[in-house]
Each structure stands twice: as C-alpha cells, then as structure tokens.
C-alpha cells in the first residue's frame, strides 16, 4: 500500500481506483492514475471553485476545457491565449524551468491550430537583495529569452514583483497569444474508430518523469536536489520544427485532431483526447521512438520529454503526414489506434500491460471541498527599509527604485520583442502591449497583471483590483477587453488559510468579470506554492486580450510634449493599504477597500474612446507607488519634467501622503490639450515641462530633479546584473 503514497495518492483515492478497476492496478496503471489524479492534472482542489467563473460571451470562440481559450477578432479571425505556471520546475532549475514553461504554453496554442504571435510573462521572486532571487531571476529571464527568441515568437510584455514570500517559491507564469483563421482551428477530441494515433516531434526519454505530480502537487522542502531529474529540458529548435510541421499539417487538412504533450506526457494527452471524443485508444509503447532503449512501459507513458505532439490521422493519410514530418526533420511514429472500447490500453509487442476505463482515468478523480478559514491577522512578515519620517522627495526616489516599480529594461532587453512585425508598442512604451493584425484590419492589446501583496491584504478585493488594473491598462491603449485568462498561484489548499485565500480570490475574479462583462476563456491553477516560512502571497495572475480598431491610435504612457496639460481622470481614491510605501515602512496589515467596479469601468470607457479618437497625447494608469510614481514615470519616459498640484485628491479626503503615494484602482494620468482633458471630465492638475518633478501636496510637497528620478527608476539594471553564482544551498 505504500507505493501509491509515494506517488502522491491518498489511501482513499487508491481504494477508489481499485473499485473502479475491479482489481489492484499494476505498476503501469498506478503510475498513470497517480499523474492524472494529481492536483496539477485533475484540479481536484479547485475545480468546484472554478465553476463560479463566467465563461460565456458573444466573442468567445473556445472556452475552458480546450488547450487554449480563443476570442473572435473579426473578419473570420480569432485570437487564442492561455497562461500557465511553471513555478516548481523554475524554483529547482530556473533556466530550464522557465524555458520549458514557454515551450509548453506555445504548444497549447498551436495545438488548436493558431500560430503563436506573442509571449508575455508574469514573474515573482524574493527580494532582489537575496542572492537566490537574483540567481532565479537571471536563470528565468535567460530561459524565457532562450526559448522565445530561438523559436521566433516575440516576448512583448509582462510583469515582475519582488517580495519576500516568493523567496523559496518563485513564480514563472508564461502566456502565449496565437492567431488563426477561426475556420481552421481544431479541437483536441479523438474521433473516428480505426484512425491512427501519431506521435510527432522529439523522441521520448527519461526526463521529467513524474514532473507534474511530484513537483507541482506538493510543497518543496528540504532535499529538493533529489527532484532535479524531474525538471524537463527544452529544445526550442525541435519545437520550431514541430510548430511549423503541425501548422502545415492542419493547413492541408491532414489531422482529425491535435493535442500537445505536457504534464503527464502521453498519459494525459491520450487520456484527454479519448475522454473528449468519447472513444478509447490503444497505445503500443514499443512503437514510441525512445532516447534510451531500456525504458519501462510506465516510463514511456509518463515521460514529460518536451516538444512532442499527438495527432489523430485517418489511416489513408498517415504516409502523407509522416512525409511532412520528414520534410521538417522531426520525428513521427504511429503509436496507436482509436478504438470504441472506452478504455486506454497500453500494449507492448502485442501484450497488454495496462487497461483502464478512460472515464475512471481522466474524470474519475474525486473533487474536494476546501476547508477555508480566514487568518486572525496578517500572516506574512514585515520588513522596514524606509524610515517613517523620510521626506517626500526621498520617498519618491525610494519608490521609483523599488525593484517591483523600477524599469524592467534589463529584463525585456533580453527578449526579441519584434519578430513577426506585429509589435506596435514595445515594452515600457505603453501600458499594454499592442499587436497589429493586418489580416483582420485591426489590432489587439494584451496585459498581464496581479499584485499578490494586495491579494494577501484581502483576497476578494485584491483580485478585483488585479482585474481592474488589467482593464485600465487596455483602456490606456484604446482597447476593449474581449476575454480573460488567469493563472491562480496559491499555497497548499489543504491548509485553511491558503484555502480561504483561494476561495475568496476566485469569488473576486468571478464578481469582477461578471460586472465588467468579460468572459473567462481559460485558466490554470498552481497550488502548493509554499516555502519553509509558509505560503506565497496568494497570486491570481490575470491576463486580458482587448481589441482596438486602429493600431495607429494607441496612446503612449509617457508625456508627449512640453506645455501639455496633465489631467487626472477616474474614481481614484488612494489609500496606503497594501501600498509599496506601506511595504517599505514595514507596516503591512490585513485589509483592502472594496473597489467600485462600475465606476472604474465607466472611466475605462472614457479613456478608451478618447485614445481611439486621438484626443489625448498620453495615457497611463495609476498603479504601484501611487500618483507620484505614475507622474514620475510619464515624465521619465518623455525626458521632460512636470508640475502638478494634488489638491484634487485632498478634496476627496486623502491626506497629502495618500495623495502622493497611496494606491487604488480607477486613476488615469492623461496629457494633452487642456480643453480636451476637461471635456473628458478629467481634472487638470498640472503641466508638462521643465527638468524637475514638482508635486504640491500641502506639507508633503516635493521637488525631485528629473535626472535623479530617472537614475532611481533605472537602478534595476545595475542591481540585477550583479548576478552571483547560484546560492550555496541550491
């Protein structure tokens, strides 16, 4: 009875498997069950919660359950997108962990017949002064760049936060955007009894065995080194060939269906294809091309070797499919056949070595209710790095230099942001990435957001804020949301506090999406993100794709020219709850105000229309570091100073400090002609010009030289570059 526990199954789950099979599983079957019944594959602690999310909308082409979600962008085209975590592998080996995270999400997108056109990343590390964090940052950034650059998909945006609770459990969430003719997209359901099952791409080795269940479904603790062999190794060149090969096969109509091999390898791909199609599949492991000849059947079935795809092909077309695989110099082998048995059967040279009902294997895992309990107080630490009595100018410089706020040029400069010729707004030039779609005659904008610190303060409101932040970013470039995807990164759901965080966050996500009318078209869940000191900040990362009619009409974040008026628009009511300033003072505590979603949505609509009409010269949302940082960012980006009076916020009941550095949703900094800004309903608070940033806020007024502000904001470049060797204990 102990083998199943080593594989992560509980005694009662094991008993259920015995009951469903009517006998004890053999070693092959047990290995396959343990993976498909892992948290990573079965979502057994989250699936019930996810039913709360709104998933329908007029523009939804593919929703949850497919390899990626997709929305209609008009003219017969669709945009597919998905975000997925690769946290645990990246915490063990950041380069390969992040690289294969990108590789995996690309496969999800081209599996539905969409050509990947962009990658974005959401990363979380411990504080930058930690050697481990810099090592993980360096490895993850190199890994993302290695894979994305080599395969010719631009990395156009992303976000990074550095917070103590991620010290031992970094987050690497990769997002891919794909573009397809809607009519050419393909689903992953196996169909047609007698059709061939063809494995394409790389050969199968021992790498990544048990990666999904071992790494992503339990906490990492002492002795992580033993898990190193479970990290997969990526080969972007192989993926590039498989990608082009699969798109050619689909364009020629040679595939009935297509599925990528990700977590749990062949087991999961074959199982899910059979389940979706209501059929059975026989697989002959002796037909699988191997890297090591002596691999056991169970190893072949659970290997997570990268760059593999599984296709269902009509028998008469197998030769043509294999010829195209040969053309692209990538592997292909017919390894199985679609049956009407409703079973997954594993054969080796004619002998049955495993036989399981698809229903039991894929959909039989019990789903669990959580036992949430709110914590009595703030459960995370506090570390003061800025004296409470620091003057406003010092404070502004400290905030601009905060690694989570400072320019991420050091990171994005290592990524090809241009290949594909769609990138209208390069990183850090606008609030969202903008990609032109000449084929459809319009453009899309993409943003990915999720401030875990705010969610830690209050999971419901914090998650609503993440959705609003994303919506505001799209509004700044004139885009209207079409759909949302997410990656829910949380701690151990079997513990009451992470369970409560997850439960509240999903409710917040559902409420915000419902009120905004934005459908959730897909998602991913990563649980058990904990270190020795407890769970990570609860981190729901949300990503939205929006549409804009004219790629030439997208506002930059930075001010445009000297003399322009500066306007503040939106229901911005900043507080210090969960703010970067509060973090730096070591005064974080539970609690976050409830956002007014409808009011923020109305402000977004105003900004969106103004940007589309060319009525503003720049648009930037107020985010981390508050209005002072937002204004400074607009000035630094332009290389021009500004003067502003924050009296407007003081009239809303804010203290001078809250007016400067307080955070909250709903604020936009616009620039342009005074009359236009006023006509939009913005309050004109200042003017672009000069070589200083001068902000009037009563007794906390400040003047900072543009050069000093720029230096602080650019300081990440030098600090991140001081990458030391890996920490001694890693």
């Amino acid at each position: 009875m102990s083998r199943h526990r080593e594989l992560g199954l509980t005694d009662s789950e094991y008993e259920l498997i015995v009951e469903k099979l009517g006998r004890e599983p053999n070693a092959v079957e047990l290995a396959m069950f343990s993976l498909l019944w892992s948290e990573h594959c079965a979502y057994k602690h989250s699936r019930k919660l996810l039913r709360r999310l709104p998933t329908e909308g007029p523009r939804v082409v593919m929703g949850p359950g497919e390899n990626a979600g997709a929305v209609d962008v008009g003219s017969g085209y669709a945009v597919a997108f998905k975000v997925e975590s690769h946290n645990h592998p990246s915490a063990v080996e950041p380069f390969q962990g992040a690289a294969t995270g990108v590789g995996g999400i690309l496969r999800d997108v081209f599996a539905i017949g969409a050509r990947p056109i962009a990658v974005l990343d959401s990363l979380r590390f411990g504080e930058l002064d930690s050697v481990r964090s810099r090592h993980l940052l360096d490895g993850a950034v190199r890994g993302i760049g290695h894979y994305g650059n080599s395969i010719g998909v631009p990395t156009v945006g992303g976000e990074v936060y550095f917070e103590e609770p991620y010290e031992h459990n970094c987050l690497v969430n990769a997002m891919c955007i794909g573009f397809a003719k809607t009519a050419d997209m393909v689903r992953a359901a196996a169909a047609g009894v007698g059709n061939a099952v063809v494995l394409m791409g790389a050969s199968t080795g021992r790498d990544g065995i048990g990666g999904a269940s071992v790494l992503a479904s339990a906490e990492l603790g002492e002795g992580d080194d033993a898990k190193r062999p479970t990290v997969q190794i990526g080969d972007p060149f192989e993926e590039s060939k498989v990608l082009e090969c699969c798109l050619e096969l689909l364009a020629k109509g040679l595939l009935v269906s297509l599925q990528d091999l990700g977590a749990a390898g062949l087991t999961s791909s074959a199982g899910e294809m059979a389940s979706a199609g209501g059929v059975g599949i026989d697989i002959d492991v002796a037909a699988v091309p191997l890297r090591e000849a002596d691999m056991e059947p169970f190893e072949i079935m659970v290997s997570e070797s990268q760059e593999r795809m599984l296709g269902v092909v009509e028998p008469a077309k197998v030769d043509e499919v294999r010829a195209i695989c040969d053309k692209w110099q990538t592997g292909s082998a017919q390894i199985g056949v679609v049956t009407d048995s409703g079973h997954i059967r594993i054969l080796k040279a004619g002998q049955v070595v495993g036989d399981m009902p698809v229903e039991a294997l894929v959909d039989g895992c019990p789903l669990y209710d959580l036992a949430p309990a709110a914590p009595a107080a703030w459960i995370y630490g506090n570390r003061a790095t800025l004296p409470t009595d620091a003057d406003s100018a010092t404070t502004l410089l400290a905030l601009l230099a905060a690694p989570s706020i400072a320019s991420k040029k050091w990171i994005f400069q290592q990524y090809d942001a241009l290949v594909g010729s769609r990138t209208v707004r390069r990183p850090e030039t606008a609030d969202a990435a903008v990609l032109q779609l000449p084929e459809a005659g319009n453009a899309i904008a993409v943003s990915i957001d999720g401030n875990g610190r705010k969610v830690a303060c209050e999971p419901f409101n914090g998650t609503v804020e993440a959705v609003l932040e994303c919506t505001q970013n799209l509004a700044c470039v004139g885009a209207e949301p079409l759909g949302l995807t997410n990656c829910l990164n949380f701690g151990n759901p079997e513990k009451p506090v992470p369970a409560w965080q997850l439960d509240r966050a999903v409710s917040g996500l559902a409420a915000a999406c419902e009120e905004l009318g934005v459908p959730v078209v897909g998602g991913n869940v990563s649980l058990y993100n904990e270190g020795p000191d407890g769970p990570i900040y609860p981190t729901p990362v949300v990503a939205m794709v929006g549409e804009l009619p004219d790629p030439a009409r997208t506002a930059p974040s930075a001010f445009a020219k000297e003399g322009d008026a500066i306007g503040l628009l939106g229901p911005f009511a900043p507080t210090l709850h969960g703010a970067e300033l509060t973090k730096q003072r070591g005064e974080l505590e539970a609690g976050l105000p409830k956002p007014d979603v409808a009011a923020v949505a109305a402000a977004c609509a105003t900004v969106r229309e103004a940007v589309r009409a060319g009525r503003v010269a720049s648009a930037h949302d107020v985010s981390d570091g508050g209005l002072a940082c937002a204004l400074a960012e607009c000035a630094i980006g332009a290389g021009i100073g500004c003067r502003a009076d924050l009296q407007e916020l003081r009239e809303r009941g804010c203290t001078p400090e809250e007016a400067l550095f307080g955070e909250g949703p709903g604020g936009f900094v616009l620039s342009g002609e005074r009359g236009e800004l006023e006509a939009l309903g913005a309050r004109v608070i200042g003017q672009v010009g000069g070589t200083t940033i001068e902000l009037a806020a009563g007794d906390r007024s400040l003047i900072v030289g543009l050069g000093d502000a720029t230096e602080a904001w650019r300081s990440l470049d030098a600090r991140a570059e001081s990458v030391a060797e890996p920490p001694a204990d890693a």
Partner: protein, 235 residues
C-alpha cells in the same frame, strides 16, 4: 525585382523579410533550404533566426544546405545577396563574407533600436555622390566618413563582429565595411564598431541589425528600406 528568401528549419524572420521585400516594391517568395535551384529570383535574402538551432555554431550547418550552393553561384555571378543576423552568420560561415560573429561581449541576448552609419562602397575613390551606394546617394550624407545614419533594431546573442587586424585594414581600404554602429550604439563589442560588411564586389551584404523590422512606421522606423534598396542595382 523578385526576391527569394531562404527558409531553413529554425529560421525566424523569413516572413518578416518577405513582407519587407514587398514593402520596398518587389515580389518575394520563400526558397526551401533543400532546393538547389533559386527559381530565377533576382536577389536573395538569407534571413534571421536560429537555423538548425544554431547548433555547433551559428550558421555552421545552414551553410552546407543545397540552397546555399545556389546562393554562392548567384553571388559569384554578381547577383545581390542580403544576409540579416543569422543570415549574416551563414554568409560568413559560407565564406561569402569575411570575418565571424562571436557571442556578445556581455554574454547576453540584446534587443534594442540602434543607430547605424551606412558607408559608401569605395569612400576613397567614389564619394557617395557618385551613386555607388544605391539610393543612399539621393540623400545628403551625414557624418565625417560620408555615411548616413539609419535607425534599425538589433536582436542577437552572437553579434560581435570579429576579424584579424590585417583583414580589417584591408576591408576598410576596399570599402567593405558597409555598416558601422554609431557612437554609443555598439552594444555587442564588435571590433571597430562594425555592424555589417560587403563583398569586394559589393553585391553580397551582411549585417547584424534587422532592416526587415524597420519598414513600417507603426512598428518602429522605415530606415530599413534603404538597406534593401541599396542592393537593387545589382539585380
């Protein structure tokens, strides 16, 4: 003018190059690396990317492809050939251009907009006014060495141009340095700020920055068009 754009397994920027050729007023088609026949195209682009995964050495495998044999013949006959980034590496590996590309000085991939100075073919003999650098002559040259500054993005991990000193002296004497990074823009440590070189005859040009990503004002600049246009006279 009909351009052929080579496609190897692992090429990344071939579709961008096709588009750029069309923007500058030509027709363009892909040429598969196994094709020994270029199909009568007037000019060839060897595009950017990671041909054959850059395994062994960037460009070291692609140079042996049948299409490259055809490109060598096309170049020997005086036809225009433009190698961009990985394509530049392939042309160097194939011996169609002098020198080699090494890993960036800071050992990181870098993607950014850069200023390049386009240099005339024979500065000592024919000034830019004589038209020897194609349509560049239509513009007033800028800079002390008679070049014109272009804003074009670069993105590579192995773009540090290298050649021994005596070879460099010879290249400079013969006007074979085609593009130099403007002051402050040599991000990879290239020797003598060299971003691109040309063959002695001038019909084969390779550069690390990506002119095919600089043909649309929406995505950056349009200066890259001039790099294509400069080769048209060899067709």
């Amino acid at each position: 003018m009909i351009w052929g754009v080579l496609q190897f397994p692992g090429s990344c920027d071939e579709r961008d190059a096709l588009h750029a050729c069309e923007v500058v007023g030509g027709e363009a088609r892909l040429i598969w690396h196994e094709d020994r026949d270029l199909g009568g195209v007037d000019g060839v682009v060897v595009p950017g990317g990671f041909s054959f995964g850059d395994y062994l050495r960037a460009g070291a495998i692609a140079r042996f492809s049948p299409a490259m044999e055809a490109v060598a013949e096309h170049a020997a006959a005086g036809g225009p050939v433009l190698g961009i980034c990985n394509g530049f590496q392939v042309l160097c590996e194939a011996g169609l251009l002098p020198g080699a590309l090494l890993r960036n000085e800071e050992l990181r991939f870098i993607c950014k907009q850069a200023d390049l100075v386009a240099l005339p073919q024979h500065p000592a003999v024919d000034g830019p006014e004589t038209g020897h650098i194609g349509r560049f002559s239509a513009h007033r040259p800028e800079g002390a060495d008679g070049g014109r500054t272009l804003s074009i993005p670069l993105k590579h991990g192995e773009g540090r141009y290298y050649a021994p000193d005596d070879l460099l002296d010879a290249l400079e004497a013969k006007g074979q340095v085609a593009y130099r990074y403007a002051e402050g823009h040599n991000v990879n440590g290239s020797v003598r700020d060299i971003a691109g070189v040309r063959s002695e005859r001038g019909n084969v040009v390779g550069l690390m920055p990506h002119p095919e990503h600089a043909v649309d004002p929406l995505t950056g600049s349009t200066d890259g068009r001039q790099v294509f246009e400069a080769l048209e006279r060899y067709a």
